[in-house]
Amino acid sequence: MAKIDDTYENENICIKFCGGCPSYPGIKGEMLFCARGKSSSPRQKSGCNCGLCDIWDKYDLTGFYYCIEGEAK
């Protein structure tokens, strides 16, 4: 698994999936949790869109709820 690039391009991909996710914390400036780590104010698990995200495929991720569990390792 490659390290996720913290780029504007990946942010744009991320927000399409995280933005509509019921577990998305919605804190200003927080996104791309798989690259940057968990939210400062995580919500409880309510379903996760990570597995549908193009970044998940692109970087061969296997986890979910990065906003709660922390960045991909």
């Binding site: 509509g20 698990k45 309510s46 379903g47 996760c48 061969d60 979910f64």
Partner: protein
């Protein structure tokens, strides 16, 4: 009062009560828009100045015709000295309900007889704004509101039409309705009424001494006048017998399509197996929804009905239907599920509580917040079981073109949800509501269903070569299995626990109630049926939940208060439920190594057959002292559990009865292909 002898097609469902009153007319979805709102449509007879409404006070028998969705009802009235033999049916293609009545005069004199049919429509489930009128062109009474039309007519003395009619006001200023007008044998002929209205019509015939006359009655159902008029003309054009015959033939062909050889089973079990398939069919909508039960009377107990698609119930019914070979129906169900998952909150891969037959979200009592914390109010077993049933479907039929359409929608989304909606520490699924929709926590049944769903997702991933997801799902299922042994099996109780509730301290509250649903670990493949944990669990269920009355059966759990009728929980831990009793049979079957060991399962199948209504209808539960049906009736889950158990029995019999000479099965029950020796 339970419902009996339902008849229907994909869009129209008619049910009766035990007085043989028509009670529910569902259209255009099976289970949605009950245009009677549960009110009685009375059916009466006047003979030579005496009148009576047909009821259980008559010598009444409600059954189906052999292997078909046509009723076979007989009613005898000693005072009137007449008997009726009736057949009710809904055409298998057109939305027409037909009743054929053979009226027999049992006296030695010629007699004047009149049949009365009363219609207490509440179109769109409300009495407001209905119209009932006599339409001379159609020779029919028509009830309508908005885009719902019901045209009622018939044939007597060989000609279409009705002899007398009345329309009138009901449920307003103390007015009871036109049915009261019928009791003097005459209808006063008011040609139109609007508002809260009903109607009654009558047919008059002369019946010779010891003679018999045939009367036909029908209700055409549609969205507009043109449609019901078309149906009325269609009936007259082809003749009523054409529709009766084709429907009778269709259902007979439908129920026998797999030509199973069930001869090793007692006749009562084979009979109930076929009736169960037919009754299940009446509860499935053309849009794919498998409805839990259509019995509007249950709302008087629970303020709501069972006319919903619960993902759990639907999945278990789909599983049974797939076992029985009805993949054409179950595809509709899986498509229905895919539509649910493709939108709204469900798009992250779970199903909510229950759904209306049209796919809209059903009513719910599960809160989205508890003690200030947000809560996802799901019953997670429903999600797991839909995936489990879908894999069974695909594994059996290998309909790749069908399944590929569901891959991203159901398989990936639900698989990901099940794999990830877990506690990072314990590996257990996060809490949700239990299968009985009562308790919040982590339940043995739910966790077993999650495991089954994950294994199904893994199987699909393997099939499609998705090694990454296969690994994710396999790891998740292994974690779940390990966590089940660790947290849900109790060495102290020597069985699985019904529920554990996580505490903020990191430990769990244990619910020690013994509950029949803890059978699930073997049925959904988490542990082998002869695993010590499973054996201990099933023995505990048998010992503690068997109802110790002459009725017997397995209760749901100790102290079950739902429709409770007996306080002595030692004797009656709860009312016997058909599904819970059949779960024990399923374990006997899974354990059996020879035909002798299968006998315990057969005893339970016979028990179920003996507790069904004469029509074959299975309620949810029965009275522990009287065997009267309790709660909703019919319950599709009860019928599905019976179908699945019969086929599991036959599968096992085929497997363990091997010919010592050729090594082939002694009892091969599945159909041999045409042209194959």
């Amino acid at each position: 009062m339970p419902r009996d002898i339902p008849v229907g097609n994909d869009d129209l469902l008619i049910t009766f009560d035990q007085d043989y009153c028509l009670r529910d007319i569902y259209y255009p979805c099976v289970g949605k828009e009950n245009h009677t709102d549960g009110h009685k449509f009375r059916f009466g007879v006047w003979v030579d100045g005496r009148f009576d409404w047909v009821s259980r006070e008559w010598n009444l028998s409600l059954e189906y015709a052999h292997e078909s969705l046509i009723t076979h009802v007989t009613a005898f009235n000693e005072n009137l000295d007449i008997s009726l033999h009736c057949n009710d049916m809904v055409d298998y293609r057109e939305n027409v309900y037909i009743k054929r009545i053979f009226l027999k005069n049992l006296s030695d004199m010629e007699r004047d007889a009149r049949l009365f049919f009363h219609h207490d429509f509440h179109i769109l489930e409300s009495p407001t704004g209905d119209t009932a009128y006599y339409d001379p062109e159609e020779k029919a009474i028509i009830h309508y509101k908005g885009n719902r039309y019901f045209l009622i007519s018939g044939i007597r003395n060989g000609a279409q039409g009705i002899d007398r009619y009345a329309t009138g006001i009901k449920e307003f200023h103390g007015m009871e309705g036109t049915w009261k007008d019928a009791e003097d044998g005459r209808l006063e002929g008011n040609p139109i009424s609007q508002g809260s209205v009903d109607s009654t019509l009558s047919f008059s015939v002369k019946v010779a001494s010891r003679g018999e006359r045939t009367i036909y009655y029908w209700i055409c159902v549609g969205d507009n006048y043109a449609e019901v008029s078309r149906l009325n003309k269609l009936l007259m054009g082809h003749g009523i017998e054409y529709f009766i015959k084709r429907t009778e033939n269709y259902w007979r062909a439908w129920v026998n399509k797999e030509s199973l050889n069930l001869s090793p089973l007692p006749e009562a079990i084979v009979d109930l197996y076929k009736k169960s398939l037919l009754i299940l069919r009446t509860n499935i909508d053309s849009g794919g929804a498998i409805i839990a039960g259509n019995d509007s009377d249950v709302q008087h107990f629970a303020r709501d009905t069972y006319s919903y698609m619960w993902p759990r119930d639907g999945a278990l019914v789909a599983y049974a239907l797939d076992m029985a070979g009805y993949h054409g129906i179950t595809r509709g169900f899986f498509d229905f599920c895919q539509n649910l998952i493709s939108k709204g909150k469900e798009s992250v891969g779970y199903f909510l509580h229950k759904y209306n037959p049209d796919g809209s979200l059903g009513s719910s009592w599960h809160p989205w917040i508890s003690n200030g914390d947000n809560r996802l109010p799901i019953q997670e077993d429903g999600t797991g079981l839909v995936l489990w049933a879908l894999w069974f479907h695909f594994d059996k039929f290998r309909d790749l073109e069908f399944i590929v359409k569901l891959h991203d929608g159901i398989i990936i989304r639900c698989g990901d949800f099940l794999a990830s909606y877990r506690d990072a520490e314990t590996g257990l699924p996060l809490p949700s509501y239990d299968l009985w929709e009562e308790k919040w926590g982590i339940h043995t049944f739910t966790v077993s269903a999650v495991y089954a769903g994950l294994k199904a997702a893994e199987n699909f991933s393997n099939f499609f070569g998705d090694t990454k997801r296969s690994r994710i799902y396999r790891r998740a299922s292994e974690d779940v299995k390990m966590a089940m042994s660790k947290y849900l099996y109790s060495n102290q109780h020597k069985r699985f626990l019904k529920t554990i509730i996580p505490l903020k301290t990191g430990s769990f509250d244990v619910d020690p109630t013994i509950d029949a649903s803890i059978y699930a670990p073997f049925y959904f493949g988490v542990f082998e049926p002869d695993d010590e944990m499973v054996v201990n669990t099933m023995n505990a269920i048998k010992a503690e939940l068997w109802v110790k009355t002459g009725i017997g059966g397995i209760a749901r759990y100790t102290g079950d208060s739902y429709h409770k009728v007996e306080d002595d929980i030692k004797k009656v831990p709860g009312n016997p439920w058909f599904i819970c009793t059949l779960w024990l049979a399923q374990w006997y079957i899974a354990m059996a190594k020879d035909t002798e060991e299968l006998k315990d399962a057969l005893t339970i199948l016979e028990w179920v057959a003996s507790r069904a209504l004469p029509s074959g209808v299975l309620a949810e539960q029965v009275h522990p002292a009287t065997n009267q049906p309790l709660s909703v009736s019919p319950l599709t889950w009860s019928h599905a559990a019976f179908v699945a158990t019969v086929l599991e029995y036959m599968n096992k019999l085929e497997k363990i009865s091997v010919c010592p000479t050729c090594g082939g099965p002694v009892h091969q029950y599945r159909r041999q292909l045409y042209g194959k020796d």
